[in-house]
Symmetry: C4
Subunit: 274 residues, 4 copies
């Protein structure tokens, strides 16, 4: 719709431009309003989960919830209308998220508590990158995701190995420590092994016997080495991604000196204005 039609665009084209793009004024305005609405509606859901706030402002929050749900329902219908292939949108990543963002309110009519699922709306915030310095951030995001995609097989191999390691280590600790020290079952011991290997270390379960602590020490030092692996994978992949850097090409109009930093307003050699 951007530069290839000279004929007057139809209302559908205009709607598409406003809703799906962010290059025109109205397109950008729509996205900004939408993002504010998303943030407000997610905040409302969060606040409702706090007991004191619900007790005091419960009704207000309930109204706000329905207000935003109806708003987003209208937006969803508008999106389906504006696009020429509605099913493609409906089954796209954002299409499904958009539907899931309005569904839980209706579901909560039947199941109490279901409306907490509304925080799924926060995923819609990913659209934020379309507004601010768009190209740049999307470029960075795609660089990030392509680095992650390239290292996916290595990470799957790695997580597979960690999974097996954690099952074996957890069982060893279950046998060594036993139920009286909190290691009541193999699944719980595996939970402990993950907590330890990932260096989270809640401390809700911790080894008490000398043998258990010795074993735990070895697991931690092992975890030390293991945590290096995913970092190494991603680092190596990132290093191979070429990054485009802004280069300042200014030459001083007075003395011709080059290589000024981007924040320079005056020539560092002759003092003339750049």
């Amino acid at each position: 719709m951007n530069n290839h039609t000279t004929a007057k665009p139809s209302w559908k084209d205009k709607l598409h431009e406003v809703i799906f793009e962010a290059d025109t004024f109205w397109g950008k305005a729509f996205d900004v309003v939408l993002l504010i609405a998303i943030i407000l509606s997610v905040l409302a859901v969060m606040l409702e989960s706090v007991a004191q706030i619900k007790a005091e402002y419960g009704t207000t929050l309930y109204i706000i919830e329905w207000f935003f749900t109806i708003l987003f329902s209208l937006e969803y219908i508008a999106r389906l209308t504006a696009i020429s292939k509605p099913w493609k949108y409906a089954f796209s990543f954002f299409g499904i998220i958009d539907l899931l963002s309005i569904f839980p309110t209706f579901l909560s009519l039947f199941f109490a508590g279901a409306h907490s699922l509304l925080v799924i709306r926060s995923i819609r915030l990913l659209r934020v990158f379309r507004i601010f310095k768009l190209g740049r951030f999307i470029g960075e995001a795609s660089q990030l995701t392509s680095a992650l995609r390239a290292s996916r097989p290595k990470i799957i191999v790695f997580i597979g190995g960690v999974f097996i390691l954690v099952v074996v280590l957890g069982t060893m600790m279950y046998l060594v420590e036993g139920g009286e020290n909190g290691f009541t079952s193999i699944p719980k011991s595996i939970y402990w092994a993950v907590v330890t290997l990932t260096t989270v270390g809640y401390g809700d379960i911790a080894p008490q016997t000398t043998l258990g602590q010795t074993l735990a020490t070895l697991i931690m030092i092992l975890g030390y080495g293991i945590i290096a692996v995913p970092t190494g994978i991603v680092s190596a992949e990132m290093s191979q991604q070429k990054s485009v850097r802004p280069v300042n090409t200014q030459a001083c109009p007075h003395c011709g000196a080059e290589g000024h930093e981007s924040d320079a307003s005056y020539c560092k050699k002759c003092g003339g204005r750049l």
Copy 2:
């Protein structure tokens, strides 16, 4: 066995192809069934360790355990039969794991609790990479392990240094904090030092005195720098790994050695034709 024999293969050759390889339909089917059996048997052992589940389904789980043990015993015998040099398989990494995977059930007839060791079966899951997008994942795995192998001497030096550091720091905290704050002995203080340096931080032992907390602060900032070292080692090694050597899934029909390069026509271990 793949493309160089025109004569009808013997039943032993066929068995070898089904059990040790995953390139044909039956070979792949066998591996898939095997992996499902491994996962189910490991799950059964895990569930049995949960007190409530054992109380209710104890007998069923006991039967399942013996069922899988007998199944894996038959498989182990089949493996020994199919290969021309059984002892080489028996003493290989997977050969030993396969034996250890059936042993604990028989052991549990004499020692109660020994059957928890059956989770060692989960190590057999490493075979999973032979099935899905095989060559690729094996390539990635070998790239990972070769990067780790290349950085092994550096990591040994590093762990040696950390070990000495942890002994010295642990003793210092033992002298500073003393038994009344949980640092009851030098080994326990060393355990604390490892928990802190690796940033696990259970909190089951934590410094209480001002001097102890000051010292702990320094140790943590030190740990900050130290955790960077293994990551740096692995990252640097990964960055230098460039070519993915394609490896295939063939196992030598004579000695069972795996990991042959795709262009190999003869086993690099025993010289037999692949």
Copy 3:
């Protein structure tokens, strides 16, 4: 002021050299005395916050606080006097910090406790790098900050993604665990999700149900992969930083701008002679 004036410098020039530069003896001496004064005054504020020490030495610490505040006020006035464009200094990063470093004492006359804000003085310690092996450290610092600046868009994208993830995961745990296990509200569950994903793991809130622990296990392993991303970003950026641009300690006598390259003869901000 260094090598291009043959005329006798005015007292204002001399004051500028002593206060803003560290290349001459008196300039260095001034900075050393200043840093010691900053450290002592920050220590005094810290000690006053310890109940026992305040009870015993309260009056002494009160006098010390006022002594340093008056000293730093005089220094602030001297800085404003020495520079030819006082407002540029007053609104620069260090100018604002210098003002904030004296303000809380006067504020504490009206609001008790406000003087704890004096620790903001510690930010002034950043000047320390101007004294010791100066050029080298400033070069390193600017290398660090330029690596961080270059990776800023990637890090913003990353933190945006983590923020959304944490909201969704926190809500899931809120629904699974519920208030009786410490997950009393969505904001608190988000706090838990951050504590877990960043591998801090206090353990003040920890999942108790089997489903909750399983979910937590997945979150931790996810966090394992996620923590690799910022490290990978910074590592890759650092690897690409090659040349250390030598920077000197000169500050422009006209506008106070710092960070000029060693070959600069004119201020890159206002065009004045250095």
Copy 4:
């Protein structure tokens, strides 16, 4: 002493060869015995700190301690005798450690508990790298240390910045949470800030108020980014260190094929023995 004297070496030369080198049989044997003695003596000190063990075997451990102290004293005198410039050894890193390794026992005659300092002996274990595959490990160690030395200025700048950050953040939490939630003084709050930023997270002090938890969340996400910095520094430095890799240069004597892996015993092309 190795290859440049043809005359019969004096007893002093022989002693030097045995004590300070590890290339001859006796030199290696001496080092192995020494390392075992060090490990045993450190173990004895550790065991003595465990209350039950001291109650039972106290006298035995006391005798062992004096036995090793006298042994190491004799060794120290022998080292001073064997070397031509005794003072150079006495003031070298290992010379000082060797002296500190015997001193605490004599000190414990006057101050009870001083003998715990004997664990300083464990630093002597650094000599272990002289024995096993010497050159290789020392090469790796020097590569590690040179990478760390090269990144030292960056790390000092970084730790300086973290120090200031931690003081400011700690004070903010002290003001927000206050004494009733465990943040009893600024130093204690700084301790908490370090525990959090380094992702150790004991949980002995944890924010209780909503504002405190929100602030803590921001600190943790900040720490997420910050932990990436030292890793990035070391990774970048390591990547620039060139590593020497063992290359297998074997060519098959039968068919001339090259590029065999180091563990290959047979040619992968023609099956001939390599």
